[in-house]
Symmetry: C2
Subunit: 94 residues, 2 copies
DNA sequence: CGTGTAAGGAATTCTGACACG
DNA sequence: CGTGTAAGGAATTCTGACACG
């Protein structure tokens, strides 16, 4: 129930060109969000970025926030908060 | 229960090079199986083939059969039989 | 029948930079 | 800060063909 096999959602196999078409934003923006550490594609041996469907969902979320005027810095903050919450559950202090 | 939204499994977004790496067979073989109508990738505007995870599963199946000495012709026959069975359920003759 | 290979062209992706603001 | 663009190089993919068997 808690442990789940990695599904297709998390396999990083989509090229940036396709991600751009699917999400509707430019490759430049996608690369910038990576630079700002909001998204983490895999790299092939050659250096090509590969994204998962999960990454695309995350991107959709980022796009929405950006449209609401949220800065990448703030989006990153929220991300870190979430991670800390997850850590808390793993190493719960009593 | 019967109708299901198209999941990530059926989104055709994987390039032939990645399919080759994932399945372990050459691009030549993958293209040949398409020529023999065993597999049906999508084409981008430019003409690049795009495969889904479902396509990859199907390929794995084809590879196994080929290793057992089954010819592409026979594999295709089985495919058509399956389709007919499905059709039978849709247009059942009484 | 099933697969390898060399050939040439066209589209993709990458990085670092300059630009505007 | 967030995004556009031109630049040049490197890797990808495509098709049609010849080869072996």
């Amino acid at each position: 129930m808690s442990v789940q096999a990695i599904s297709y959602k998390d396999k990083k196999v989509i090229s940036i060109g396709d991600v751009s078409k699917i999400t509707g934003i430019t490759e430049r923006q996608i690369r910038y969000y990576e630079e700002r550490e909001l998204i983490f594609p895999k790299r092939t041996e050659r250096g090509t970025r590969k994204y998962s469907f999960g990454d695309i969902e995350r991107l959709m979320d980022i796009i929405e926030k950006r449209e609401d005027g949220v800065q990448t810095f703030e989006i990153r903050q929220d991300l870190l908060k979430k991670e800390r919450r997850l850590d808390g559950k793993k190493f719960q202090v009593i």
